[in-house]
């Protein structure tokens, strides 16, 4: 039977089958598995049915722990149930997995396998997570390609139902989960034929049912637990055969025959590699090359069924001639004898060789090695290196491949020039920015080629870790042969560079082959473009004799009403010159694809895209170049020569995209990195930057407080410093008596600015003659770059304002404090970072920060650089990220340690009072440490103490020296998003609030899981559309603040800087000063809200004016004074809710997708807002005077 070919990624391939074979799906977002849950939620919302004709229900839980609990319950109650997860999420499921397996319950968890957080988090793929569930009793099935994911998903569901062994079906995160391939789709009929319904009925028969009650989950004692544990053996013994039979049945239906261990290679191979996952594809490709072209006797075993591990099947699959085996594990178990697959193979072979019927004449030599951690490239060169190692008489064991280990010398050398990509295939690379739609266009192209030709297709996309100005590299392959190259394109026939500036940042033509085609989006006319190219690029074009084409795509986009979107234009050019399809046919197909993609968004969008297609061809030029390098343009250094050594040596390599070459010795051993490094990564991502006009400035510093990237700064300083100022440096007399005679400057870091223009929006100073001119206006960056770089450097060297002289609860003055969080990779216009930066300004020089996983941990701690920095004294925030779920506890632990060490220091201080001097000891012990002056004085005392301690011979003095720094008050901050605070971390957060300890919790509330792409959390507003709430959230957001108030001793504030910066500032200060737990819930506008974030502060004001976002401060200190602790900082709903919410796509899209429901949800939401005002105003008006009376009575 001819089946439909579809071009999809691995996640979709798994989700399609899982959805069809399930009744209940419990989900929670985690990269890279989230798209499986998203697709299922969307299909369920659309009413898609499973193979039994009913729509599976999809429920988002508060954590993976919760999801696995719900799965367990659902299975017990009789439904076919599945879930999707990865990494730490899978770890959180482990307790339930033991239960599910112990109860012999069929289910399949689909896992896009990912690294675990160890010395650092990584979102990328390896087998570290799935290896953790080996002891749970779950079976483990590995897929290596998108087709295999689709096929083995179905086989696993069948095998689980029949064996009663639950399974994890896994495939490599990103490499397979996000790789797009053309595959053959399994039909409902295929699946119906595959699944034997009698096993489904048996599953239901075993379900908990009050009509025939049973008890499961009993508690057993030493007498029988052990025996009970052994009862399952027969199921595990039978499982491998059941899986193989399922594979056989599948082969009958589809013709694709899998085995528990598939061997590929020479029948008489002497050297064999054993591995699982996507690496098997590359290994097969390499083995094919080595056996056919090099006549080597090599082979590869692809492990499909890893648990239950069938030694019998493995031994049957191995050629009898094998002499040496290399087992490759994509995981690391420090301290072990070897990684798990290696140990399993060792055991299997040795057990067999010591049995009565040894399978081989001579025991093969078996070595193990690690490869591909965190999606590290795994190429044919590396596979060959592994085979070459096996040629040795004593092959290296416990090796690594793919890195350079110059510390413990585990790594195998490999020949980078060993490239065996299919020459008949067309390989393409595209460099673009995230914002220009390059990836989307390429995905579209793959679908066109996959759908319209008989070519096999492959697409893989590499993104950098920044959320603003991020670069993307797309790797596409098309060809007549199946594509097994599960690694990046190594020799490209075609390179598209969609941004001229990337020529400076990357070796764009490094991988293009001789005679290849190079397409460049150039802002320069065709006659000028050659001379504008960097020297190196010209040389590459000449040397490699490239066909060189240019188009000014931005001009075409502008002329055709496409704005800044060049995706369709570049796609058209690609088809026009790559020759993959005949030109006219390609154009017709593109238009067809446009119709499909944009049709639902209206005719106008389709028309514009059509027009852009037509205009692209008219503006595409082939450039004739001579043989001369004419350019004088040298590539700039990656970082300034003034950068610290570590930045130049290591981080600069990462910035330049050469991180793969960094040797082990250069990496910190324990995950410790210096702060203050983002300042060296000059990204120049803004097309336009703010320019200060002093003549209008009122020195309010609102631009400074609003800037998400700390790229706009203010200083007040003595005028004499201006003597050496660069020519274009600006200043004006400082306002206010305090600063009489001094001058004031607003300076922009144009190379670090992301061009969001939030500063312009918040600037209140307008030109009376021309109100469109403000004191801050946007202007093109490039002409300003050189001068402003010099100005910013000069500015940084101006003295900082004396912190002790700043009135910190004034917005204008607080912004003279140095930000110790700067130039993060957050989205342009980010709503979170202004709060984070403000905390860093106020308390950063003594802050200890626990940061939940999420956006803030990514823009805060994703390599290469960190925005957290230090001041001239070297003090600054010290930062760590533990996990997603435990951040409040992590921060509390820090508090406990600080309290303990402080107390110990105080004890030692008292003990050594006579030797140190009573006066100093007393002063230190009784210091108030509230104001900046207090802190400064205490630091001076502690310095004095340290000097004194160094002179004392008493060993207790030495002891005190190790803890004396704790005598200066530290400020503990626990930061994270709403996904953490409202959902996964809520239990811990609640406990920490109840601890009474002095911690400050900052909840950056974007009302969705922003970092994983906008899934709903319990903070999502009523009526908002989010992933996992595709139909619009029907319930109001959880009132976290009100819940925290119920403790009575917790400082609680809800803030929105855009509505009231002064209230935000005061709340943060009060929270820090409050000697107990504090929680601040900060409205954070977000890219996932769907509007121009330049209007973020305006939207925040509307959120407050509509009553949606009550501003308040609940300060328990007031209770003691007989006052109501709750102070409302807003005046109730002043505007209709719709005036706020319908400015945002997250709400407005529901009016377009389901107008009736939108109307109802709006009415519900308005009612809720009104009700909230009643509740809050009532709470704020309650009389607390009796508390005072009670206190007086007590006195």
């Amino acid at each position: 039977m001819e089946r439909k070919k579809i071009t999809i990624d691995g996640n979709e391939a798994a989700a399609r089958v899982a959805f069809k074979l399930s009744e209940v799906i419990a989900i929670y977002p985690i990269t890279p598995s989230s798209p499986m849950g998203e697709a299922s939620d969307a299909w369920s919302a659309e009413g898609k049915k499973n193979i039994w004709g009913t729509v599976p229900s999809v429920t988002e839980m508060q954590s993976e722990g919760g999801a696995s609990g719900a799965v367990h319950g659902s299975l017990q109650a009789g439904a076919l149930t599945t879930t999707f997860t990865a990494s730490q999420g899978l770890l959180l499921m482990i307790p339930n997995m033991h239960k599910i397996a112990g109860e012999l319950t069929p289910t399949v968890f689909h896992v896009s396998a990912r690294s675990l957080a160890a010395q650092a988090l990584s979102i990328f793929g390896d087998h570290s997570d799935v290896m953790q569930v080996r002891p749970t009793g779950f079976g483990l099935m590995a897929s290596g390609s998108v087709q295999e994911v689709h096929d083995l998903a179905a086989i696993t569901h069948k095998a689980s139902l029949e064996s009663r062994v639950p399974f994890v079906h896994f495939f490599d995160g990103f490499r397979t989960s996000h790789e797009i391939q053309k595959i053959e789709e399994l039909t409902d009929d295929d699946l119906k034929e595959l699944i034997d319904d009698s096993y489904v009925h048996a599953h239901r028969e075993r379900a908990m049912n009050p009509d025939k009650p049973v008890l499961r989950g009993s508690s057993q004692n030493p007498d029988v637990y052990f025996q009970g544990r052994e009862t399952v053996n027969k199921y595990y013994n039978a499982a491998p055969e059941i899986v193989q039979k399922a594979m056989d049945k599948f082969a009958e239906i589809t013709g694709r025959h899998y085995h528990l261990f598939d061997y590929y290679g020479a029948p008489d191979a002497k050297r064999v590699v054993i591995l699982m996952g996507s690496g098997t594809e590359t290994a097969e490709e390499t083995v094919a090359y080595m056996t056919e072209k090099m006549e080597e006797k090599v082979g590869v075993i692809k492990v499909r069924l890893y648990r239950p591990f069938s030694a019998k099947h493995l031994l049957e699959a191995l050629p009898k001639t094998v002499e040496k085996i290399a087992v490759l594990d994509r995981t690391k178990e420090p301290g072990s004898l070897g990684e798990p697959l290696y140990l399993d193979v060792q055991s299997a072979v040795i057990e067999a060789m010591t049995s009565e019927n040894p399978p081989f004449e001579k025991t093969p030599i078996i070595v193990g090695g690690r490869y591909g951690l965190s999606s590290k490239e795994f190429t044919p060169a590396m596979v060959k290196a592994v085979f070459d190692n096996l040629k040795q008489d004593h092959p290296k064991n416990h090796f690594t491949v793919g890195i350079y280990d110059d510390v413990t010398f585990t790594s195998l050398d490999f020949d980078k020039n060993f490239i065996i990509e299919d020459e008949q295939a067309t390989k393409c690379m595209f460099y673009g920015l995230g914002s220009d739609g390059t990836v989307g266009a390429n995905k579209n192209s793959i679908k066109i080629i996959g759908g319209e030709t008989d070519n096999y297709t492959q697409g893989y996309f590499v993104y950098d870790s920044k959320k603003s100005g991020s670069t993307t590299v797309s790797h596409l392959r098309f060809g007549k042969n199946p594509i097994k190259s599960t690694y990046l394109v190594q020799q490209a026939d075609f390179v598209g560079c969609h941004q001229f500036v990337l020529l400076e940042n990357f070796d764009v033509l490094g991988n293009i082959k001789e005679g290849g085609t190079f397409l460049l989006n150039s802002p320069y006319p065709k006659d000028e473009v050659w001379d504008k190219l960097p020297k190196k690029v010209q040389q590459q074009i000449i040397d490699k004799k490239l066909d060189f084409y240019v188009i000014d795509a931005y001009k075409v986009a502008k002329d055709t009403g496409m704005g800044a979107r060049i995706n369709t234009i570049m796609q058209t050019c690609f088809f026009a010159i790559s020759g993959i399809l005949e030109k006219d046919e390609a154009i017709a197909k593109i238009k067809n694809a446009i119709e499909k993609t944009y049709g639902k968004k209206g005719e106008e969008i389709v028309r514009k895209n059509f027009n852009a297609v037509d205009q692209s061809l008219a503006n595409l030029y082939k450039i004739d170049y001579g043989n001369e390098v004419t350019s004088q343009i040298e590539l700039p250094p990656v970082v300034s020569p003034k950068a610290p050594e570590f930045v130049k040596d290591v981080l600069a390599e990462l910035i330049a995209g050469r991180g793969d070459d960094v040797p082990v010795s250069k990496m910190p051993e324990d995950g410790t990195f210096p702060t203050g490094t983002a300042m060296w990564e000059k990204r120049n991502v803004a097309l336009e930057v703010p320019v200060w006009e002093p003549d209008l400035c009122i020195q309010c510093n609102k631009c400074v407080i609003a800037c998400p990237h700390a790229a706009i700064r203010a200083k007040v300083y003595d005028e004499e410093y201006t003597k050496n100022a660069p020519e274009t440096f600006k200043w004006m007399p400082a306002r206010g008596k305090k600063d009489a005679g001094k001058v004031y400057t607003i300076q922009v870091a144009v190379e670090d600015c992301t061009g969001c223009s939030l500063c312009v929006e918040v600037c209140p100073a307008k030109d009376k003659t021309n109100p469109s001119r403000k004191s801050i206006n946007m202007a093109p960056q490039i002409p300003l770059r050189e001068k402003e770089r010099e100005n910013f450097e000069f500015f940084l060297n101006l003295p900082e304002y004396d912190r002790t002289q700043i009135k910190i609860d004034s917005v204008a003055e607080s912004q003279l404090l140095q930000p110790l969080f700067e130039f993060s990779g957050a989205c342009p216009g980010c709503g979170e970072t202004p709060y984070v930066k403000l905390v860093s300004q106020l308390f950063g020089d003594r802050a200890v920060i626990a940061n939940a996983t999420g956006c803030s941990s990514i823009y805060g701690g994703n390599l290469p650089t960190t925005p957290w920095t230090f001041n001239k004294e070297g003090r600054g925030p010290t930062w760590n990220n533990s996990l997603f779920e435990d951040n409040a506890e992590f921060g509390l632990g820090m508090r406990l340690a600080i309290d303990r060490e402080t107390e110990y220091a105080r004890e030692l201080l008292s003990e050594l009072k006579d030797e140190i001097g009573a006066e100093l000891v007393e002063a230190i012990l009784t210091a108030p440490q509230v104001t900046e002056t207090d802190i400064k004085e205490q630091r001076e005392r502690v310095e004095q103490l340290n000097d004194k301690l160094k002179t004392l011979s008493n060993p207790r003095a030495k002891e005190l020296l190790t803890v004396s720094s704790y005598l200066v008050k530290r400020s503990v901050w626990i930061m994270g998003g709403d996904g953490w605070a409202y959902d996964i971390g809520y239990g811990g957060l609640d406990h920490v609030l109840a601890s009474g300890k002095n911690v400050n919790i900052l909840v950056l509330d974007t009302e969705v899981y922003s970092n994983t792409g906008g899934q709903q959390s319990k903070a999502t507003g009523l009526g908002a559309v989010a992933k996992f709430a595709a139909a619009g959230r029907p319930l109001p957001k959880k009132d976290l603040g009100r819940m925290a108030m119920t403790y009575g001793n917790v400082y609680v504030a809800q803030i929105a800087m855009g509505a009231s910066d002064i209230q935000s500032l005061r709340a943060i200060i009060e929270a820090e000063h409050y000697d107990g737990p504090s929680i601040i819930i900060a409205y954070s506008h977000c890219i996932a809200h769907g509007y121009d974030l330049a209007k973020g502060f305006e939207q925040q004001k509307l959120a407050v004016d509509s009553g949606y976002w009550p501003l308040y401060r609940y300060n328990p200190e007031n209770i003691k004074k007989g006052k109501n602790p709750l102070k409302l900082d807003y005046k109730g709903p002043k505007i209709p809710l719709e005036d706020y919410i319908y400015n945002e796509t997250r709400y407005k899209m529901l009016t377009k997708a389901n107008p009736e429901r939108a109307k109802k949800l709006l009415a519900d939401a308005q009612e809720h807002v009104n009700e909230m005002w009643k509740i809050y105003s009532h709470m704020a008006s309650m009389d607390y005077s009796h508390f005072l009376e009670k206190q007086e009575d007590n006195n």
Binding site: T31, P32, P35, E38, D41, A42, A45, E46, I123, F174, H178, L433, G434, S435, G437, T438, V439, G440, K443, F461, Y463, S465, K466, K467, S470, T472, G563, R565, Y598, K600, K601, G602, E604, I605, K766, K768, P771, C827, I858, S1010, N1011, T1012, G1013, G1014, V1025, A1026, K1027, A1030, I1087, A1088, G1090, Y1091, T1145, R1146, K1148, M1149, K1152, A1153, N1154, P1155
Partner: protein
Amino acid sequence: MDIKTKYLGLELKNPIVPSASPLTEDKDVAKALEDAGAAALVVHSLFEEQITSDTEELDHFLSFGTESFAEATSYFPEPTEFKLGPEEYLNHIATLKDTVEIPVIGSINGVSAGGWVKYAKEIEEAGADALELNIYYVPTSTELTGEEVENMYVETLKAVKENLEIPVAVKLGPFFSSMANMAKKLDDAGADALVLFNRFYQPDFDLENLEVIPNIQLSSNWELRLPLRWIAILYGKVKADLAATSGVQSHTDVLKVMMAGGKVAMIASELLRKGPGRISEILDDLKLWMEEHEYESIEQMQGSLSMRSVANPAAFERANYMKTLNSFRQPLI
């Protein structure tokens, strides 16, 4: 007593028609209007520009920031279809047709030539009894001549008329050098009615923030004077029915419109202020007045104070201006 009238070929039970306003956005309010006595409904306008900008906005923000970051390759779920454009409006027309028995008149404000015809046709297909072209256009270009503007109106009307079978009214503003000639041109082009006048929303200034702000004011009673005058002038000179809109607040206003020569008096601000029930009050007052003044029918009075019928036609021309000034001065003397 007969208070029936005929407008756009439709038999109406009385001359009071709620004009295009947010009132008709809700089917329950529409029903209340009918119950209070409204003779027909003009549905709020379908704005082509709004449809286009909504489409573009949705497209922009659904794709903005996507495919930039490995963990978040998109930020929104994408439904398989959107009701972007006129579907919602067209469904609403159909709903209103199911809800009320009085005629339902669709209203449209287009931008592109294609848009006018396409949406007009769809409104007809959705079941509207008639269509009002709400031509809201502010010619700000110094290069655009009056003639070009006038032609645009005429061409739009012609294009729509060619494609529609239901009657078509044109709602227009008063800012033409020769209003009467403009009315004649539209009449010749096939307008079944002229609705006088469109109230251009005039923006206000926010002095604190130095910004221009949109500001919608409900109409006041004196605004009726302008349509009243022009209906009186045009009555009998054009075949098209005439309707007054802006400033109608009471039965006396309705009577004035009728006597000027209007077929219907359209009302919105008064209903927005006082609710749909106001129609029944006006109708009661109207009937009482007619009874007291011994009128038998509305038809009897239609056009009785028009320029053609009035004793002193000059009152509608310059002399009227002179007189007005004098009458204004007198109290000062």
